[in-house]
Point group: D3
Chain length 138, copies 6
């Protein structure tokens, strides 16, 4: 019984660790400020989401991280009202190798489907991010 | 004056024709049934959208069509209530070279960001599309 | 006490009746099938909504019914997944005097703000409505 | 006629007063800052909403206030972009007897249905609220 | 190494089995048709969601299943375009002990926050469900 | 060939210039700060949107600018998370001749369809705008 619980804990750690590794590939600090904020109020959720979103889903082999970031950015632009997450994932998009111009192009590609306002907001977030990294656009 | 109008018309045709060419790359019939439906009630809009969405945006060089389809599919999944457009763009994703497994993977990637229901609906559309093309998944 | 309750009931009837009158201006059957559907499962809600939405809000004098229908249609297009309500309010728009071409124009006006898919769906609803009324468009 | 108007006014007051009482049960100041903000620009709407939302709906007997707050919080989390309302209703949830841990649990329960970003934002609002009330979580 | 993989597999089964048990409490067939539909196109996702949504989240002790169903229903109503999921979770709400009148009351409670159209659609789903179970409402 | 490109460029300028003229009717500075923000990160998009949204759509004759602003405001309120665009278009609504009371009335008209929170936020934006223009409301 005790042994079983130990095994379960190890397995959880394995999903979590795989997710955490993936997060570190997206962002050298693994989105630590976001995770810390979540830890302070819902620590189990922080753990479960890292294991599920990044350990189960993002660690799969079917798409590379550049492709995943295109998908994720489009989700967040369309959803709206997700500025901190969008900022994190736009930064991650650059970190995994998408060019700034590709990121801008992906945002532009959303206009016909979700309208101008959602994309304007997202371009504002991208602009601040690029400035903070001394990226010249266009 | 007459000459100016002729030039304007040609230019419009040029954006429209570029857009229509792009549509034909996405779908061998250029989404004709959707376009026809639109022509019947708002023909100017059909023309303007083909010129803008596919002539201005989709024809840009910054992303290839496989990347664009990842972005577009994620927009439509997140938006919800877009079944005919989603079906068209899932088919287009296959037509421009994304593997069926990559399409499914892209839909799965949306779950942490937009929740299960939107993705379930989209997977149902994908399943019907794959069946209609005799694609075995998984 | 009994008298007070009678007065209250009369007042409720007055808001409800004002709302019902407004509904009859929008649609000669007052959206009866929708109301009936609601009556069968949540009769108090049917009453409360007619009194609030149509008695309190729609009966105010600040905008005429043509202006209100432009606002309402834009809300429903943007919201998505509201086909029965959209069909009712597109019909009401015609009933209160908006031209079919104005209705189509209003839907087109939504494209830059909410994207193409929401408007395509709405134009499909409008097309069916126009067909059912033998309206030639465009 | 004059008498009728007096009766109508009393009845309106009765729905409004019932709603205002309900608001005072949710929040000892009845959301006064929100109501004041609304009074300054659309006073009739402030009155109509208190009468409808809190007098007609929230005062019904079918669910207790703890159940209603679970429903309302989930609506606001899913809707997004509703921070002042969410803050008010999270506070009201505590005021009517939900434990802080239950509130956090309710927010966590939304993740599979609406995705992580909406819930992260809501947990941030909850964290600020808990801090302002010296509530230790978890 | 082989042993470690066996342990991992057991642990995954434990989260999945806990989730599946939870699903069976919500619905005597565990939503089998929905799960089957998902299995046919994205089997790993079916497994991961049952483990995460029902094993990690829904199996927590902080809220009982009646409370969880109130939260979940409100999420789905607000989200819109989620009819199969809404039908499943309305049925589950009854299965775990919410009265039909409480379910209707919860839907009514959403009106001030998400508007009438979303709630009308949801009441239509509820009505069909109640009819299929020979439930008289109101 | 060179001549054709010159013609194309002129035609583009014509759609753009028509759009820019329309923008100047909506706002004496043509939304210059918003346009500038966009120019800095996606200049082609700024051009394409002015040509499409304001040159192709907003310049059509089927609705006058007061009607268009009613539609646009309702789109933005319903969409949520569009504060800068909403502020611009509420100001434009006044600029093209809608009365402040009509603008408030239009926002109130959205409540039954999109719920209270979206409208509260929009009324807050309207209140700040009215203050900045020394408009007394109500």
């Amino acid at each position: 019984m005790q042994e079983d619980q130990n095994r379960s804990k190890r397995k959880e750690q394995s999903r979590y660790e795989r997710g955490w590794q993936r997060l570190l590939e997206l962002d050298s600090q693994g989105g630590q400020p976001i995770v810390d904020g979540l830890q302070a109020i819902a620590p189990d959720l922080a753990t479960a989401i890292i294991a599920f979103a990044f350990g189960d889903i993002y660690s799969r082999s079917g798409l590379d991280l550049k492709q995943r970031q295109l998908v994720t950015i489009a989700c967040l632009v369309t959803l709206g009202d997700s500025e901190p997450q969008l900022e994190f994932h736009l930064g991650a998009a650059l970190n995994v190798g998408l060019e700034p111009a590709e990121v801008v192009e992906a945002l532009m590609n959303c206009v016909p489907f979700v309208g101008v306002p959602r994309v304007f907001n997202a371009l504002g977030v991208a602009k601040r991010l690029f400035l903070s990294r001394d990226i010249q656009i266009p």
